[in-house]
Amino acid sequence: MADIQASGQDSVYLKATKEAVFAGLIAFGLFFLVVGFRTDQNINNELVLVQRWGLLAIFVAVAAIGRFIFAAFITPSRERAKLAKSKVSAAARADRRSLKATVSRFGLALLFIYPFLVILILALINFAATGQWAFQSGVQGSLKYVDNFGIQILIYVMLAWGLNIVVGLAGLLDLGYVAFYAVGAYSYALLSTHFGLSFWLLLPMAGIFAAMWGIVLGFPVLRLRGDYLAIVTLAFGEIIRLVLINWTVVTKGTFGVSGIAKATLFGIPFTTGPTGFAATFGLPNSGVYYKIFLYYLILFLALLTAWVTIRLRRMPIGRAWEALREDEIACRSLGINTTTTKLTAFATGAMFGGFAGSFFAARQGFVSPESFVFLESAIILAIVVLGGMGSLIGIAIAAAVMIGGTELLRELEFLKLIFGNDFTPELYRMLLFGLAMIVVMVWKPRGFVGNREPSAFLHERKMISSEFTKEGHG
């Protein structure tokens, strides 16, 4: 028995080595001309051929070693995992569920203390470096982490959760979701600059406006399915953007709307004056408070989205959405009005897009059509697909990875050590981003969390494997 296993191990390594050599050869063939040589100009403006054998060797080695690791370790371990998975007991399943509950509770707690955690850590680092305890130093440094990471990621989490209602639950492929984000942003921007209405009044209004636009879009596209629906929603998104660009009298066109009022905390403005937030609470003046306030605001909005989604899934309407995704004809045969069901999905998703939009306007203080291009829709959709359609946690992870990842890539100065000094990580950001997406989709075709949680149960709540759920046909 042991003998057989040992020889089995040997053959795995042998096979992996073979595959590694093969992968190395392919990489060599592919990159020989592309990477191995480079044309350059010398001082006399002559074209010279630079040979870069070292770099080529790195490429080939990465391919070969990567293939070896994959074939020797990853594939066998995944097979073993699959085997083990097929015979997990109910107890183990229950275990995993409670683990999942702990993880999500822990994640939630982390989200709540995140800004203070960042401040504390930065202060400690500062303390270690200078030997002086200064809380304020942490406060100033935290700006980047709270704003660029925290708020940015949470905006996308919220948008993706909103889109998840349309795409993940109802199975309607919407490529123009950013239009509702734009409607929300411009509703707040215009109504607050022209009429001086407060953020707290305009926040729900922006949601309602966006929902109305969701219905307006919903009506004509209800008959369409799949690809056609996707194309029409895409067009709708572009129309909204073009209207924003060209209706210059109202929207100021490409200049955008600037000087949008900030949100207030129960009437306390975040200004430097004597009535401002810092003065009221006796704190030193800093822009960080507003950011931290915005962080909690978007955290609240995102959690509201999650809460509503979770509640709706247990309502008849949420079940009807999922049933619609599974089989529209069967839905109609059960007396479900699929028209209104689709419209409510569109409207609900759009409403959360509108909330996020008005938040965005309040955060930036400036909106222009450039923020609402198709790429945004694509990124939000990619987050939903990557996270696993319908799964809130998966989507949150996907948003953190994708948005946090692109932000991190801005900072990857150490890559210069590998690729030379003229390497600019920002330029490769999108490339790495795309590669990461491909890897995830190959590795987990149904997204990070492909399993579906049932909305009701009789005996026990069992997760439903992604092989049974459908993605919808539009």
Partner: protein, 448 residues
């Protein structure tokens, strides 16, 4: 027939002059029948007879070309189904259905499937979601009731243990039962089942019979079912309607339908000649013997059914009669009516040519080789065979048709106006000319 259909307060569903055309194809042709309240009505017929199309018209998935479908609910309200859209029919007129190819929500659990079916009452009790979202107790109670109702049906179909598994994970027979339970969760007064026993083994189909009888007994739901499995049809139905090529060819109790020579010919694929022979024989020996002869033939046929059904394989009866029916010459109304008429049938111009043939019919193709009539657009293999049976083998024969011939041909092809519309005569003339020069190219398919 129509007057008999009308003025019957007992009917839960009245179908009057129902016609459904898909382009040139007449899927249902002036169908009249009624389903009595509390009855199990079976709709049978060979493949492509238009049974599913009838269901699609009843449940609003197709808008009928013509006709009236009246649903009378237990409380006396009547609904004209042809004017309502599909989901309203289930919601208001209380007609539920299942599908020939199972349509469960495979990614939802068994329980959720049954909860989705209770969408409309739950929607009301959740105050169109708003009250439910705010956590009002009315919805909580309604949701608990809905789960109880689902449990009730799960017990009936023996699936309580699997309530939390995805519906797509169930075995085929269980999926069929679940689909019926799901339809029942909409509280229907008329349940339309499209081949519920298809793909079930003998034991499962016996259980299905029990389930259906039980449903009727406990809920009083009237049932219309399409079925190829004769053991289901004969055992549980009170009333059988037989369709062939969209036309009703028989209507009555299982006993009478079983013994109807037209049904035997159409459904069991007995060759037309046999029936003609039989009727001839009956006519010759006196009318009393015809029943005996028909009985003989039908017992043979029923025996055949039982033999096929007893086979251990799960393959239902469908295949056997269907292929047979396809092979068999389509029954013409003229061939099997009363013995008195049968005489005229039995004496055609030529023994090989059928009744109602056109004037220029031939006994056999000239030179023993018929033209490939399917080259004409609008003639498919089936029609080609029918034409051949009526002595039409060559393009020039069709080319020479007069108005009366066209009418005669349309009568036996069960077409109206199609020959003129598709200009068969013009096409045939051209082809006849060509075939004089060179033999017509072979064509495998043809417009059906």
């Amino acid at each position: 027939m129509v007057s008999e259909v009308r003025n019957n307060p007992n009917a839960v569903l009245r179908v009057e002059h129902l016609s459904m055309k898909f382009g040139g194809l007449v899927a249902i042709n002036d169908l009249n029948f009624e389903a009595k309240r509390g009855d199990i009505t079976a709709l049978i017929g060979p493949n492509g007879a238009g049974k599913t199309t009838v269901f699609n018209c009843i449940t609003g998935f197709y808008k009928p070309t013509e006709g009236m479908l009246t649903m009378t609910r237990d409380n006396g309200e009547t609904y004209l189904l042809e004017r309502m859209s599909d989901f309203v029919i289930t919601k208001k007129a209380k007609v539920a259905r299942t599908f020939q190819n199972i349509r469960l929500f495979s990614g939802l659990t068994v329980l959720e499937n049954l909860l989705v079916a209770q969408h409309n009452p739950l929607m009301l009790s959740s105050g169109y979601t708003i009250l439910g979202l705010l956590g009002f107790p009315t919805y909580k109670k309604a949701a608990a009731d809905a789960i109880e109702k689902a449990r009730f049906w799960l017990e009936k179909i023996n699936l309580v243990d699997r309530a939390d598994d995805p519906a797509g994970d169930l075995p085929y027979g269980a999926q069929r039962r679940l689909e019926i339970a799901r339809a029942m969760c909409t509280d229907p007064e008329l349940l339309c089942l499209d081949e519920p026993a298809a793909g079930l083994n003998a034991r499962e189909s016996a259980e299905l019979n029990q389930l259906l009888l039980n449903i009727r007994k406990e809920t009083g739901t009237s049932i219309i079912l399409i079925e190829h499995d004769m053991s289901v049809v004969m055992e549980i139905s009170d009333h059988v309607i037989v369709l062939e090529y969209g036309t009703k060819i028989s209507d009555g109790t299982p006993e009478t339908v079983k013994n109807d020579p037209k049904v035997i010919a159409a459904y069991l694929g007995v060759e037309d000649e046999e029936v003609v022979e039989l009727i001839e024989h009956a006519a010759a020996t006196g009318s009393d013997d015809i029943t005996a002869a028909v009985d003989l033939l039908s017992t043979e046929a029923i025996h055949e059914i039982e033999v096929t059904h007893a086979e251990p394989s799960a393959a239902p009866l469908i295949s056997t009669p269907a292929t047979k029916a396809a092979k068999a010459a389509p029954a013409k109304p003229a061939t099997a009516k009363a013995p008195a008429k049968a005489k005229t049938v039995a004496k055609p111009v030529d023994p090989a040519i059928k009744a109602g043939a056109t004037s220029n019919a031939l006994a056999a193709p000239r030179g023993g080789k018929p033209d490939s009539l399917i080259v004409i657009k609008g003639i498919g293999p089936v029609n080609e065979r029918k034409l051949n049976e009526h002595g039409i083998f060559h393009f020039d024969q069709i080319a020479a048709w007069k108005k009366a011939d066209v009418i005669a041909a349309e009568a036996y092809l069960a077409f109206d106006g199609r020959i003129a519309r598709e200009d068969w005569i013009g096409q045939a003339k051209k082809l006849a000319k060509e075939s004089q020069i060179k033999p017509a190219a072979k064509k495998t398919g043809g417009a059906k």
